[in-house]
Symmetry: C2
């Protein structure tokens, strides 16, 4: 607990007002006073300050309830921009995002196996392009990356693919660009993306499972990203789920990643083709030595039975893992993201069915599993959401 000083109280009240305007439509100063329990004059002072800073604009007049018609307020979503980076394996991507999480400029750079300092140079390149494209003041840089990130110290503990270890990326970028920098694991920020910009009511708690090349999850608890004691919360990709499972890239066998990642899905389809040289999959494959996820998706959508079966098995494996997570966390809203989530109900229905048969009925019935609608940019949006929260207090 920290002491409450007058300056903090003032800041707290300002954040309170900004959040109320951000989360509600068509509020007047009087509405704000009712909503925040602050006095009319405190609200007026704060609103004037926010208008002066350009963060809030007057929208016009609302319906009068007797007396003068009220002036309605809204956050000017174009008042500031945020840089979000997704340092995914294969490709670094970045974007300029407005205050409502709308992507305005996109930049990406192929990594081509570059790592270490060379990979860091690519980050500079990306950032310099984005900073050059900004049309309004940039309030900060948010970064999501696979691996273990110390969000407090701003250090990449380990990002194996990039060969980064104990890289103080926050201080490096902060000094170089004179902007606030926030980093976190990519699956973790995906939860912030859903929390801030997902197409659903804002929940207190939220679980997002991101299934792409790797598998990880992000947990929002009490409206905040929960990162655990060592910033590793949600790292579920390498739990052993299969006693006789396949070798994982981590060196262990039977990890969840070997069951449900896009890599696992491709490998299983490839193995199926060897066993069934006459399966319907071949019609969708350009090169049966290198099946792509898009090809599998097309075959799935065309109803190729062998593919439907593999996708459903993937969903079932996800459901088994969710049984543990939901029993522990009792979070009602579970969202599946990442490239494998493109299979939609193909993944979610068998996941839900397994899940329901494996936990207490009343825990199961209150849990909803659905697919993210944020698509490929979820990490960029989550990284931007992190900046929104830490720099403007919007949460």
């Amino acid at each position: 607990m920290k002491k409450a000083t007058r300056a903090q109280t003032k800041n707290h009240n300002k954040t309170l007002v900004l959040n109320a305007i951000y989360k509600n439509e068509d509020l007047s100063r009087a509405d704000l006073s009712r909503l925040t329990h602050l006095t009319r004059s405190t609200v007026s002072d704060i609103v004037s300050e926010l208008i002066e800073e350009g963060l809030v604009v007057e929208l016009g007049y609302g319906q009068p309830s007797g007396g003068k018609p009220p002036v309605l307020l809204e956050v000017d979503k174009e008042a500031r921009q945020i840089i979000g980076l997704d340092l995914a394996s294969g490709e670094f991507r970045g974007a300029l995002v407005n205050l409502r999480g709308e992507v305005q400029e996109r930049v990406s750079i192929a990594i081509n196996e570059r790592s270490g300092d060379v990979a860091l140079e690519l980050v500079y390149e990306l950032l310099e392009q984005l900073i050059g494209l900004a049309k309004t003041p940039v309030i900060g840089i948010g970064i999501g990356a696979p691996g273990l990130m110390d969000s407090e110290k701003g250090i990449v503990h380990s990002a194996v693919n990039l060969d980064w270890e104990n890289l103080p990326i926050r201080d490096i970028l902060c000094e170089r660009y004179q902007l606030p920098v926030h980093i976190a694991n990519d699956s973790q920020v995906s939860a912030l993306a859903e929390y801030n910009f997902g197409d659903h009511e804002r929940m207190q708690n939220l679980l997002v499972v991101k299934i792409g090349r790797g598998v990880g999850s992000g947990i929002v608890i009490n409206q905040q990203l929960y990162q655990g004691d060592g910033f590793g919360a949600g790292e579920i990709g390498h739990i052993k789920v299969d006693e006789d499972g396949e070798l994982c890239r981590c060196g262990n066998t039977g990890c969840l990643e070997t069951k449900i990642s896009s890599r696992a899905l491709r490998q299983r389809v490839q193995a199926m083709i060897l066993d069934h040289p006459d399966s319907g999959m071949q019609a969708f494959a350009k090169d049966i030595q290198a099946i792509t996820l898009d090809e599998i998706l097309a075959a799935y959508q065309a109803g190729v039975p062998e593919i439907v079966e593999i996708v459903e098995e993937t969903g079932a494996s996800l459901g088994k893992a969710l049984a543990y997570m939901v029993s522990a966390l009792n979070i009602h809203q579970v969202i599946v993201a990442g490239s494998v989530s493109q299979f939609g109900d193909g993944i979610v229905l068998p996941a839900a069915s397994q899940f329901q048969s494996r936990i207490l009925p009343n825990l199961a019935s209150s849990t909803e599993i659905k697919v993210s609608d944020l698509g490929e940019e979820i990490v960029i949006l989550g990284a931007a959401g992190m900046v929104l929260q830490y720099e403007l207090g919007i949460m």
Copy 2:
């Protein structure tokens, strides 16, 4: 977020000072001012108030650092009492506890299969005895019970053994005894017991797994009990962990409870005796039709090989479940409580070994699994801890 008023600020600062005195030894008013960043005069006013209320006492003089020797302060642990109840299956137990979690009076009542209103009468009986025994003002009643409890509304949603459903126990007891009442699931409050009174540093986050007749867990996140969206967080006893497992009392098969509960342990020993009529266990059993946990413990301590094996298998099953929970939560401190925790290293070592082989090495290496030292009274202490937190703000 709520608005910060002057009254709240004052209350906040008072809680800040009380917490500082509670958690540190030998503080002077000057130390408090440094620690809390409040002014000397604010601290003096608050301390006077706390002394007047009897919560804080002056201890005597400390070492002067030039000038007058400072007056040292401490919380008077006997200033108030708390009633903690453990509505366990088989027996209702209650105690009067001081502000340091020291149990001062104990009362218990056998349930003998009584349920419904009759069981509620037993709660009254317990409380009336305890209130009669109180020597200082009682600040509240805390209740831990197996089942699903709505801690916000103070309602027992369902406690199957007691045949209670949607019982507004808080309002009933509050009206009857004119005391604040707080309820939560028994495994959940066990985490609060460890957090408040366990023999270790206070952690931000804590996971307690309670293994008795049932299996459940409690999670402290950011110094507070985390209960999830539906107050069911930590309800891990009925996750299916064995595809071909035994029938559970919940109606499903292969639940974690069928693998590691005291009931499961007794059943397995009983089955072993049938298979090995000449095992070393018989020497410890009064009635081989009704083996007790104490008898199994005695045989385990004497090194009976069949029993050692069964206990180690139980630990291994626990370790598999912990792999999921720790990967999701990344909590460094895991504590095993409940009657089965009496097996100590017999449970913990195989659990740790399974656990380590099933998750990422750096998650595993930073996690410590140990046995609770709070013994049988953990639920009573947790219930009292809940009152301490909600009524005095000590957390």
